[in-house]
C-alpha cells in the first residue's frame, strides 16, 4: 500500500514537473508601436522595423555597445586600418551559426562569403539579388556607401578587406548600422536556385540572439531564443512583439501585465507611471535634437546679427515646460550631450529681449520685420508639438517687433518644400543613426547638404573645413578637437536656434531585469531576464 502511494506521489510529481516545464518558458512581451515594414532591414529606415529585425535577429561586423554610441566587435573580432585610411581589413569570428527556418537549414557557419554577399547585393547593380523585392537600399545609399566602397575582397574564409574611395572615419560606425546586418549567402543561393529569391527578405536566417517563428501581420511577431547564439542563449526563451499602435492602450496593457516593456509613452502619463509600484520608469536623454533653422540665404537671415537677435529673443525654458512637459532638455549644441566630442564649454544665447532688440536695430531693423515660422504637422521624438512651439516663439519674437506667421504643410510636402528653401524659418529635428558626430554635423550643416537636409541652407567655409578634416582621420582625439571647434563656430554664426534634446522614457514591468535604453533608439532584448 505504502509502495503504491509512493509510486502515485512520484507519478504526480513527474506530471507536475512536465506541466511546469511546458509553462516555465519565460516569455517577454514587448508592446511595439507599429508593424515592421518587412524583415530585411537593408530596405528600410524606420526604427520600428529595426527593432523587429536587425536589433534582435541579426548581427553586424561591428556592434554598438549596448547603452552607448560606441562600437565593439561583432561578427568581426578585430579590424586593421591602412595608414592612408583607405583599406579596412576585418578578421571574422569563427563558429558563428545561422538560424534554421521552415524551409532552410544551413550546412555551414558564417564566413567571408556572407559579408561580401550582404554588401555586394546593396552596392553592385549586377548582383543577381540587387533588384529582388524592389531593391532599394535607402540607408546604404543615404550614408554614401555606394560611392564610398570601391571594392570588397575576400582574403580567406575569415578575412575580408574593404577598399574605400576616400578616407572616411565614420565608416566603422556605419557598419554597425542596421542596413549592414549580415545575411546568409547559402540561404540566398538556395532560394535563387529554387526560383524564389524574394523569400530571403521575408524569412531570412540570421546569426542574432532571436529567431523569428511567426509574423501575424499587424498583430504579433513571435521569436524564440536561438540556442546556438555565439554569445550564449538569451535569458528569456520566447520574445513576443505585440503590436499596439496607441500609447494609452500600451500603457493599459503594461498595467494589466499584458506587456513587459513599452516604448513611447504619452508625456501626460509619465507622472502616473512613476507612482506605479509595478512599473519601473526608465529614462535617458535621446540622441536627437530639435531645432529652428533660419534660411540663411534669404533676407534678413543672411545677417548673422538678425539670427543672433532671434536666438536671444527665444525663451527656451518656456518651450521645454510647455511643449516637452519636462521630458526635454534645452539644447545649446547641434549634437546631443551623450555623444562624444560634445563641447561643454559652448555658452548658449541667454533669454535677453533687450539685447535682442538692440542687435536687431544694429542690423537695420529697429521696428522688426515680418517673417514666417514653419511648424511640422507631425509629432516627433525631438518635437512633440511643433505648433505649440511655434506659437511660443511667435509670441517671444513679437516682443522685439518681429511678426511671424505660422505655416504648416502636409508632412511630405513640408519636407520637400523646406529642402528647397521656401521657408524663412523652419522647425525640424534629427535623430542620430550611428552615434558619430559627423552624422549630425555634416549631414545637417555641411555645404554638400545645402538644398537637401541642410534646412538652414548654410554653407560656412570655416565650419565645413573642420568637418572635412575630421572625416579624413581615424584618430578620435584629433576628430574630437575639430568637432569641438566646429561647435564654437556654429554657435557664433547661429544658423539654427538649437531648442531641445528630448528625454526618452521607457516604462517596464518591475519584474523585468537587465533592460537598457539604447541611446540610438533601438530596443534590444538579449540581456533581459524576467
Amino acid at each position: 500500500m505504502k509502495k503504491g502511494l509512493a509510486k502515485l506521489t512520484l507519478a504526480l510529481m513527474a506530471a507536475g514537473a512536465i506541466s511546469t516545464s511546458a509553462h516555465a518558458a519565460t516569455t517577454l512581451v514587448y508592446c511595439s508601436e507599429g508593424s515592421p515594414e518587412g524583415f530585411n532591414p537593408a530596405f528600410y529606415t524606420a526604427g520600428t522595423t529595426f527593432d523587429a529585425t536587425s536589433k534582435n535577429m541579426f548581427n553586424r561586423l561591428v556592434e554598438f555597445k549596448l547603452g552607448t554610441t560606441e562600437t565593439e566587435p561583432g561578427l568581426a573580432t578585430s579590424y586593421d586600418v591602412s595608414s592612408d585610411g583607405l583599406e579596412y581589413t576585418f578578421h571574422l569570428r569563427k563558429g558563428v551559426k545561422f538560424h534554421t527556418s521552415k524551409d532552410f537549414t544551413p550546412t555551414r557557419d558564417f564566413n567571408a562569403d556572407d559579408v561580401i554577399f550582404t554588401f555586394d547585393r546593396q552596392g553592385n547593380k549586377d548582383n543577381p539579388y540587387h533588384a529582388v523585392s524592389g531593391g532599394s537600399y535607402e540607408y546604404f545609399t543615404g550614408m554614401g556607401m555606394d560611392t564610398l566602397i570601391k571594392k570588397i575582397e575576400k582574403i580567406d574564409d575569415y578575412t575580408v578587406k574593404f577598399i574605400l574611395t576616400k578616407p572616411e572615419a565614420p565608416f566603422i560606425a556605419n557598419l554597425a548600422m542596421d542596413f549592414a546586418s549580415i545575411f546568409s549567402k547559402e540561404q540566398a543561393d538556395a532560394y535563387m536556385k529554387a526560383g524564389t529569391p524574394e523569400k530571403l527578405d521575408i524569412d531570412p536566417v540570421a546569426t542574432g540572439p532571436f529567431q523569428k517563428v511567426q509574423y501575424q501581420k499587424d498583430s504579433l511577431i513571435r521569436y524564440t531564443a536561438f540556442k546556438d547564439y555565439w554569445q550564449g542563449k538569451a535569458k528569456i526563451d520566447r520574445l513576443v512583439f505585440s503590436i499596439t499602435p496607441d500609447a494609452s492602450v500600451r500603457y493599459a496593457k503594461l498595467k494589466a501585465g499584458e506587456c513587459d516593456v513599452m516604448p513611447y509613452p504619452n508625456p501626460a502619463d509619465l507622472k502616473q507611471m512613476e507612482a506605479d509600484p509595478n512599473i519601473n520608469l526608465m529614462s535617458q536623454e535621446g540622441l536627437n535634437v530639435g531645432y529652428l533653422a533660419f534660411n540663411t540665404q534669404k533676407k534678413p537671415f543672411t545677417d548673422v546679427r538678425v539670427r543672433q537677435a532671434l536666438s536671444l529673443a527665444t525663451d527656451k525654458s518656456a518651450i521645454i515646460d510647455a511643449v516637452f512637459q519636462g521630458a526635454g532638455k534645452a539644447a545649446k549644441n547641434p549634437i546631443p550631450p551623450t555623444m562624444w566630442s560634445y563641447n561643454k564649454n559652448v555658452v548658449d544665447y541667454p533669454y535677453d529681449p533687450v539685447k535682442a532688440k538692440k542687435l536687431l536695430a544694429e542690423a537695420g531693423y529697429p521696428d522688426g520685420f515680418s517673417t514666417n515660422i514653419w511648424a511640422m504637422p507631425v509629432q516627433r521624438p525631438y518635437n512633440p508639438n511643433a505648433r505649440r512651439m511655434a506659437e511660443i516663439m511667435q509670441e517671444d519674437w513679437s516682443k522685439i517687433g518681429v511678426k511671424a506667421e505660422i505655416v504648416s504643410y502636409e508632412w511630405g510636402e513640408y519636407l520637400n518644400r523646406s529642402k528647397k528653401g521656401e521657408h524663412d524659418t523652419v522647425l525640424l529635428g534629427w535623430t542620430g543613426d550611428n552615434g558619430d558626430p559627423d552624422n549630425f554635423l555634416y549631414v545637417l550643416l555641411g555645404c554638400d547638404a545645402v538644398g537637401g537636409s541642410n534646412r538652414a541652407q548654410w554653407c560656412n567655409e570655416e565650419f565645413n573645413n573642420l568637418l572635412l578634416k575630421a572625416k579624413q582621420t581615424s584618430d578620435k582625439a584629433e576628430r574630437t578637437k575639430d568637432y569641438e571647434e566646429a561647435q564654437v563656430v556654429f554657435k557664433r554664426e547661429a544658423p539654427w536656434i538649437t531648442i531641445a534634446h528630448s528625454v526618452v522614457y521607457e516604462p517596464i514591468r518591475k519584474e523585468v531585469k537587465g533592460y537598457k535604453i539604447d541611446p540610438l533608439g533601438g530596443h534590444y532584448f538579449y540581456n533581459v531576464s524576467k
Partner: protein
C-alpha cells in the same frame, strides 16, 4: 428572381469603374509625395528621387498610370504595397478574416440587443421602458468610439481584470495561422484554453464596435414597429382574439422588418469595411487600420486596391440585402 439579380448586377460595372477613377484621383490629390514621406527627415537626393519614381512608375503621365492600374485590376492584380512590397490582395486576405470575425461578433451583439429592445420599446410605447430604451440608444449612437473603448478597457480590463486589454489571443498560445479566424484556429490548435482566450479577446471590441449599430437598429425597429402596429390589419388581428405575442411577432414584426433589414445590411457593410477606431484602439489587425495607415504613408496601391475591395464588399452586401427583401416581401421581387 434571376432577372432581378441580373438587373442589379449590370449596375455594378459603372459603379466599379467610377470607384477606380475616384480612388485613383483622390489619393493623388492629397498633397504629399510617397517617396518624401518614406524618406522622412533623412530625405533623398534628386537623382535618387527620380530613380525611385521611375521604379514605381510615378514618372509616367497620370492617364498612363491609371490605364496600367485598371488593366491590372481587370487581371486581378491590384499592385504591390510601396512599403511592404507585398501584393495588395495578399495583404488584404491576411487581414480580412480578423475584420470579418470582429464584424460578425459586433453584428450579433447589435442585433441581439437592438432588435428586442426596439420591439419592446414600440410595444410599451410612451412608458418609462420606452423612454429609457430610447435614451440609452441615443447615448449609444452619439458615443465617441475612441473614448468609449478606452473607458471600457480601463474599467473591465485594467481595474477589474475581467477581459484582456487588446490583441486577439493571449501570447502564451502560439497558434498557427490556418484560416486566419482566431476562433477557428484556436479550436484547431487543440491547445487547452486557447478558444476561451480568443473569445475573451473579442468581447470588448465587439461591444464597442456594435454599440452604434445596436442603437441604430433599436431606433429603426421601434419606429417601424410603431407604424405597423397602428395599421388596420393589426387591429383586426387583435380583434380576432389572436394571442398578443403572435400579433407582434408574426403579424407586425415581419412587415416591420424591411427597413430594419436595410439598416442591418448597411451596418454590416460598414462593419466589414473595417472599423478604423475600434481596430486601432484594440490593436485589432483588420483592414480599417491597414487602410488608414496606408493613407498616412501615401501607399497608393494599398489605398486604391483596398478601397476598391471594400467598395465591392459593400456592393455585394447591398445586393444580398435586396435579395433578402425579395424573400421577405414578394411584392418587391415582382415589381418593375
Amino acid at each position: 428572381m434571376f432577372q432581378f439579380i441580373f438587373r442589379r448586377l449590370s449596375l455594378v460595372i459603372p459603379t466599379f469603374l467610377g470607384i477606380t477613377l475616384l480612388t485613383f484621383t483622390l489619393i493623388r490629390l492629397i498633397p504629399g509625395d510617397p517617396i518624401e514621406v518614406m524618406a522622412g527627415e533623412r530625405g533623398v537626393s534628386a537623382e535618387r528621387h527620380a530613380e525611385l519614381s521611375a521604379q514605381l512608375g510615378f514618372d509616367k503621365p497620370l492617364y498612363v498610370q491609371y490605364y496600367h492600374y485598371v488593366t491590372g485590376v481587370l487581371q486581378g492584380d491590384l499592385g504591390n504595397s510601396l512599403i511592404t512590397r507585398e501584393p495588395v490582395m495578399k495583404e488584404f486576405l491576411t487581414l480580412f478574416p480578423a475584420t470579418i470575425e470582429l464584424a460578425f461578433c459586433a453584428a450579433i451583439f447589435a442585433i441581439l440587443i437592438g432588435l428586442p429592445a426596439g420591439i419592446f420599446a414600440a410595444v410599451k410605447r410612451g412608458t418609462v421602458i420606452d423612454h429609457s430604451v430610447m435614451t440609452f440608444s441615443l447615448t449609444g449612437y452619439s458615443m465617441p468610439i475612441f473614448w468609449w473603448a478606452l473607458l471600457l478597457m480601463l474599467v473591465f480590463s485594467v481595474n477589474l481584470g475581467w477581459t484582456p486589454v487588446s490583441g486577439r489571443i493571449d501570447v502564451v498560445y502560439w497558434i498557427d495561422d490556418v484560416t486566419g479566424f482566431m476562433l477557428i484556429d484556436s479550436l484547431l490548435s487543440g491547445e487547452e484554453g486557447a478558444f476561451a482566450s480568443a473569445v475573451s479577446h473579442l468581447i470588448l471590441p465587439s461591444i464597442v464596435l456594435g454599440t452604434i449599430p445596436m442603437a441604430v437598429i433599436a431606433r429603426m425597429t421601434r419606429s417601424s414597429m410603431l407604424e405597423v402596429l397602428s395599421e388596420d390589419y393589426i387591429r383586426t388581428a387583435r380583434a380576432k382574439g389572436i394571442a398578443p405575442w403572435r400579433v407582434i411577432v408574426i403579424h407586425a414584426l415581419r412587415n416591420a422588418l424591411i427597413p430594419v433589414i436595410t439598416v442591418i445590411g448597411l451596418q454590416v457593410g460598414i462593419l466589414l469595411s473595417g472599423a478604423i477606431l475600434t481596430e486601432t484602439v484594440f490593436a485589432w489587425p483588420g483592414i480599417g487600420k491597414w487602410l488608414i495607415e496606408s493613407i498616412g504613408r501615401r501607399d497608393y496601391p494599398v489605398v486604391q486596391g483596398g478601397i476598391l475591395i471594400v467598395a465591392c464588399i459593400i456592393i455585394v452586401v447591398n445586393l444580398l440585402v435586396d435579395i433578402t427583401y425579395g424573400i421577405v416581401n414578394p411584392r418587391i421581387r415582382h415589381s418593375r
